[in-house]
Amino acid sequence: MRAAMLLCLFVAANAFAQAPITDAMRGSTPVGDTSRPPPLGNPENKDMRRERTYSMQPPTIPHKIDNYQVDLNTNACLGCHSRGRAPLTQAVAVSVSHYMDRDGNFLAEISPRRYFCEQCHVPQVDAKPLVVNRFLDVDEVIKQSGTKSSPKR
């Protein structure tokens, strides 16, 4: 009885291992195994502002932020991007929306809900996308649909 159970288990395990599971991110590594992650990329450091894919998109960070400290003690991003420091550093000052609480009241300092910059703003690596992305810029959508768009902004 025991031997039969073991045999069953063995066969089942083999079936799993041989199942041709492929995943865009995992490759052909069986689900039971740990895949070897690709090496971390080197973030772009060109300091050139990138286009936003849609108007509300948080701008991506065009420079490295390795070891930037953002915690209760200090916020390294605001060392350059805060309202007071921007003239000195010529960095893009934090948008006015970041000084508003959720009820639309303006605060003296960055709103706590906006404090952790990397929740929305991230650096970019020049990497090949892992999965297909069919996102179209709204301008492209309008062009393809043939309707006349408002004069170019």
Partner: protein
């Protein structure tokens, strides 16, 4: 008191009177050799105390500031050149080094009485300790940075545009010194909202 003065007078008389048994040559050569030995021993001990192994021999340094250093570019990087504790925290020139070592006797006091012997105590003192180092580096024009990083030898074309811009506007002109902008690059920063000189 009177007895003490008498004792001092007796010793003074012995020291100032000529030697009765030893030749001048022996005293001169012997004094020189003994002096060389003492100097060598002093320097050896000083050098031992000026190593990272010595610094992280205490848990205060090993478990607070050293673990933070290990994540930074001054500890791990592509070429494997790294800074050790005394490279940045002890001046390299002899006079300044001795002056700093004398100041460090306060740190021995702190060690003996456990001023920062728990994480909580360390965090409480962190801003004060950091401000001492910032003040020291501000006063010597970031000498410890400049022992390795020379503004004259920086190739701005190899820097990121914003780094090149900031360096040419503030570093080359002498408006600011390294530590003015590069705080917290080797260790985590304390609560900066109350830090002096912080915008």
């Amino acid at each position: 008191m009177r007895a003490l003065i008498a004792l001092a007078k007796r010793y003074w008389a012995t020291v100032t009177s000529p030697s009765r048994y030893f030749s001048l040559g022996f005293l001169v050569v012997g004094g020189f050799v003994a002096g060389a030995f003492v100097w060598g021993a002093f320097n050896t001990v000083l050098e031992i105390m000026n190593t990272e192994t010595f610094c992280i021999g205490c848990h205060e340094m090993r478990e607070n500031v050293f673990v933070e250093l290990r994540r930074t570019i001054h500890y791990t990087n592509r070429s494997g050149v790294r800074a050790k504790c005394p490279d940045c925290h002890v001046p390299h020139a002899w006079t300044d080094k001795i002056a700093r070592k004398m100041q460090a006797s306060k740190e021995v006091w702190g060690k003996l009485f456990g001023t920062i012997d728990t994480r909580e105590k360390f965090v409480d003192h962190r801003l004060e300790l950091a401000e001492h180092e910032w003040a020291r580096m501000k006063a010597n024009n970031s000498l410890e940075c400049r022992n390795c990083h020379g503004a004259d030898y920086m190739d701005f074309t190899r820097q990121s545009p914003r780094a090149a811009d900031m360096h040419s506007r503030f570093l080359v002109t002498g408006d600011k010194t390294c530590i003015d902008c590069h705080k917290g690059i080797a260790h985590r920063l304390p609560n900066m909202s109350t830090a002096a000189g912080q915008p």
